[in-house]
């Protein structure tokens, strides 16, 4: 389904966010990306919908090398994304937010007028129900939902266009553990029902072990582990997260205090 061939991304400031990535992800696989902060997980995901343009190497999507604008559009229409901070439009209703997932295909005139066909609206409602929301939410503004509910809408928006690939960049980073599991479950069920490929970055190793068909770990822009969840031993984990992981575990108490003082780095804040 997706092939990365020697994909490399160097940002204008010299940061090497991806270095010679070679991966092949078959259709229908639930692939989790692990790795410490700054490893390049987001960069890899964003290269799949054109938000990041690789410096060298190429992506082959559904057998088609992605090189020009037309290829990019071809890929974008088949790839959907679930975002860490949900990225819903706060002042639009839940229904409109979900329908926004179809804007890539809607005609310009119709979308200018804000009209969507009845059938699409019914589809959207079915999705809204399947992600665990109900009729009362349909015309509520997205800003009036809890974080967990917003991510449900985010998932509905991703799936409305019947994507072949769903990218999820830390979809549960700002949710509590119980809701996180629900959301991951939702993501897996929805993708299994459609045989969609999922590429999901996570910071929670336990969730990765539970939901992934395959785990790819990155560190400083390189793939350092690629295997099934059972291959992901504590030893391997230590290697992936280096001293940082054990260090941060030991220093958990300290990091909480640092966080309270506003000294903690973003990563420590997330881990805490």
């Amino acid at each position: 389904m997706i092939q990365f061939e020697a994909l490399t991304k160097q940002f204008a400031d010299g940061t090497l966010a991806m270095h010679n990535i070679n991966l092949e992800i078959p259709k229908g696989q639930f692939c989790v990306l692990l790795g410490p902060s700054g490893a390049g997980k987001s960069t890899l995901l964003r290269s799949l919908n054109g938000l990041v343009e690789p410096t060298s190497g190429r992506i082959i999507f559904a057998g088609r090398p992605i090189t020009g604008r037309q290829d990019l559009l071809f890929m974008r229409r088949r790839v959907a994304m679930v975002h860490q901070s949900f990225n819903l439009v706060p002042r639009l209703t839940v229904l409109t937010n979900v329908l926004c997932g179809l804007l890539g295909r809607a005609s310009l005139i119709k979308s200018l007028l804000g009209v969507f066909p009845r059938e699409q609206k019914h589809n959207a409602c079915r999705l809204i129900e399947s992600v665990g929301l109900s009729e009362e939410h349909v015309y509520r503004k997205a800003s009036g939902l809890s974080g967990g509910q917003q991510q449900r809408v985010g998932i509905a928006r991703a799936f409305i266009g019947d994507p072949e690939v769903v990218l999820a960049d830390e979809p549960v980073a700002s949710l509590d553990p119980r809701i996180s599991r629900d959301i991951m479950q939702l993501l897996r069920n929805a993708s299994q029902a459609r045989n969609a490929t999922v590429l999901c970055s996570l910071h929670q190793v336990d969730l990765a072990r539970e939901f992934a068909d395959r785990i790819v770990a990155m560190k400083t822009g390189r793939v350092v582990f690629d295997g099934s969840p059972s291959d992901l031993t504590d030893e391997v984990l230590g290697e992936i997260y280096g001293d940082e992981q054990s260090g941060s575990r030991q220093a958990e108490g300290a990091s909480t205090i640092k966080g309270m003082l506003g000294l903690g780095s973003n990563r420590l804040g997330e881990a805490a």
Partner: protein, 340 residues
Amino acid sequence: MVERADTTGKRSVSEWTLRPEYTKRFIAATLLVVVLLTFSAQRTEIDRMMVMSGEALLSVTGITDESQVARGLGRIFGDMFPLVVAERREVGRIENFDPERLPWLGRLETEIQTLSQLNTNTLQMETIEVERQVLIEPLGYLRYVLWLMWQTIEIAIWGTILSVLIAIPLGYFGARNYAPFALLYHLSRTTSSFFRAMPELIIALFLVLAYGFGPIAGVLALGVHTSGFLGKFFAEDIENADKGPQEALLSTGANRVKVLIYTVLPQVAPSYTGYVQYILERNIRSATVLGIVGAGGIGQELKGRFEMFNFGHVSTILLVILLTVIVLEYIAGNLRKRMM
């Protein structure tokens, strides 16, 4: 306070350097400003203004009796009352006049006018008395002024509509993240600031030459000038809108226009409404003045009456303008409260 022994190698309190209240630079700068202002005061006749105003004050209090300013203002204020609200027109000059169908509150009066005339037979000047009919509408002039005021508001409304229409492309292309290429961005921003910098009175002056006297010049002048403000505000709000939702939609393959409509517009809608409302308010105020250069509306009548020294009419016009502005402020204030 007890002075502590110096243990850290720092100086004792009595040795601390204290700064003077006024530095030399401050004094020099002040002197420079005073000198420059003195020169400029002569050029702008500030001295003469003070002398004349002083005279006026003295003459008002009765100490002296000669003052140009007091005389001028006195004459104008004297003529401003009573307000003229009625309209008198000679029937013979009204086209298609039908005495059976008088306008609202209208009545006919016969007045006798004495004229001096040269008698062609005797070749001598003589006075004759002519009888003529005049139509009197007691509130006729007030009605006319109110109608002009409404026309002025219409000019402002159309000026605002035009302004929004011009500002939409200026805002879109003036947003760095939406302009298709840099040249268009710079062009839009420059156009915006150029429009802002051109006073509307001067734009109107030129447009009156092109389109003739009347509302066209007023509408265009207001639209062009204020689109410079709206274009800038629109563009800045687009640039500052939350990027997350925009990326989310962009990555589904939606083009920029769709992304703008579905993510940016809902975000900026409240502030855009506020800007447009403010522009409409200020356009109504400006439209009353624009007529002075012939761009239609109530200002044109005001200027005409002023030049004919009809200060009774002038005061009616001023009163109507004043009341309109007060009512508008009230309405706008209420609207704002309701929107919040």
